[in-house]
Amino acid sequence: MIGFDIFEPYQFEFFRNAVIVSVLAGAVCGLIGVYVVLRGMSYIGHGLSHAVFGGAAAASVMGINYFLGAGLWGIASGLLIGRVARRRIIGADAAIGVVTTASFAIGLVLFAVYGQAHKSLEASLFGSVLGVGRGDIIAVLVVGLVTLFAVVVQYRPLLFATFDPEVAHVTGVPVARMEALLMTLLSLTVLVTMRVIGVLLISALLVTPAITARMLTKSFGRMLWLSPLIGSATAFVGSNISYHTDWPTGATVILVGAVLFTVVFIASGAKGRRSVDGMDHHAEPSLRAA
């Protein structure tokens, strides 16, 4: 039998940093992911990460601080996407596609021209935990705390605006401001976690823990703490597996999440079918089973 020490990598500071940042990224993506999934914003999250990449590339080439350059770009595109998505004349998904892929294309061109000189761009694209420093950990931690604070303090307005925007508006909830708040938090989350997970995989970390949590509960409040828990647990397991297998960390984390999702999907499918039998006559079993 080959000797295998699961604690071995923890002697390296880079690995400890990598695990900390991955777990934090999993938690913050899981938290904001609840809103992303319930508001049907998965595509916006996906697009946003591509848009932020353009900003990251521009910031890198111009020698501006990554968080500042990509952050301003990200927030601007986030708000722009939110606005475009409200317009009904153009299909929202098409408009988002145009805005974000154009931004991504700018990033790719800059990467092709200046890529060799800017290693951080490659990290943004595919994700890398090797270069994670104290600054990255603090950035994810700060965004995580800000998001947690906003979600706690604005819990009810955010829930109301997500579940039933029209009635929320009538009741005096500033629905547009809540949307802007979520878009800003989403942009910030994408910004600080992108270098860890990578542009191409970040949307999976936004969606997978949240839908897994959704299958495990029927309460919004419970989903809101379950999803970050799943996000950080999969990030923890994924980053450890990644060290021992030498697979890319972002991809491993996403794969662990996908496996967990599959298990829960199969298990809750069976449970769901059982619960249909006990339904009263008002519920449509065919819809329930779906």
Binding site: L38, V152, V153, Q154, Y155, R156, P157, L159, F160, F163, D164, E166, V167, H169, V170, T171, G172, V173, R214, T217, K218, S219, F220, G221, M223, L224, M279, D280, H281, H282, A283, R288
Partner: protein
């Protein structure tokens, strides 16, 4: 009587095109008013203008200062897959509290409200795990959490069975007797509209406004629905039946005889 809402020559619509035109209505405190009209007649736009979510293109909608309005949407518009329990739905209107959990007084209120609407013990259930009447009452409970002066309901009895309809009417009458004003839209002329104290026939504009016996008349109904209708009287109540159906039944009878 003090009026809560005044529509003065109001036109409203979307993208510059009016869906309702030159509407002139007053709603007094404690009234119980039904709005009837065909699909696409602008009933929902009328409610939206009343609630203030649609701004008038012309005219003014005046709400009495400090009036509390609460809206109960059509249950068909609710996302039944959303992970939310009965308790969470009822509490979500209390948006001022900057904390997810319920305060002690909120808990007491929610429990009292659920009990009075016959929903006790269901707070932890998912909204989908309820009967049609219970689902409607959950959204009524959410509206009542705001202690409204005027309750606005869009099609509260659409798609429900007779027993549930009676149940809903019963609750609404109780609330009205306590002084809460009620405005609702309905398709149900005989099952609901004919029993209300005041009725508005509506098709892009007010066609008739008054007690059911004065409003449910063939001429008004034809102008509202664009189809002939007859009105019978049964025990002092108007009963609306489709007009000109004789020809269909003659043809169908002839077919089955041949």
């Amino acid at each position: 009587m003090t009026s809560l809402i005044d529509f003065v020559h109001v036109s409203c619509g979307y993208g510059g095109l009016p869906a309702i035109e030159n509407v002139h209505i007053s709603i007094a405190a404690g009234e119980f008013l039904g709005v009837v009209g065909p699909s696409g007649s602008g009933k929902t736009t009328l409610l939206r203008a009343l609630l203030g979510t649609v701004k008038p293109l012309h005219g003014t909608v005046t709400r009495k200062e400090g009036v509390r309005l609460a809206y109960v949407p059509q249950v068909e518009t609710v996302d039944w897959n959303f992970p939310v329990t009965v308790g969470e739905v009822v509490l979500m209107t209390r948006t001022k509290r900057p904390w997810p959990g319920a305060a002690k007084d909120e808990k007491t209120q929610v429990d009292a409200l659920l009990e009075r609407l016959g929903l006790e013990g269901l707070a932890k259930r998912h909204i989908r795990e309820l009967s049609g009447g219970q689902q409607q009452r959950v959204f009524l409970a959410r509206a009542l959490m705001q202690r409204p002066d005027l309750l606005v309901l869009d099609e509260p009895t659409s798609g429900v069975d007779v027993r549930t309809r009676h149940e809903i009417l019963h609750v609404l009458t109780d609330l009205n007797e306590e002084g809460i004003g009620i405005v609702l839209t309905t398709h149900d002329l005989n099952g609901l509209a004919a029993h209300l104290p005041r009725l508005v026939c509506f098709n892009r504009a007010v066609i008739a406004d008054g007690p059911p016996l004065a409003v449910l008349r063939p001429s008004f109904l034809e102008r509202t629905y664009g189809a002939p209708m007859e009105v019978l009287e049964h025990g002092g109540m108007p009963v609306v039946v489709d007009g000109n159906l004789g020809e269909f039944s003659r043809r169908l009878k002839a077919k089955s005889a041949s």
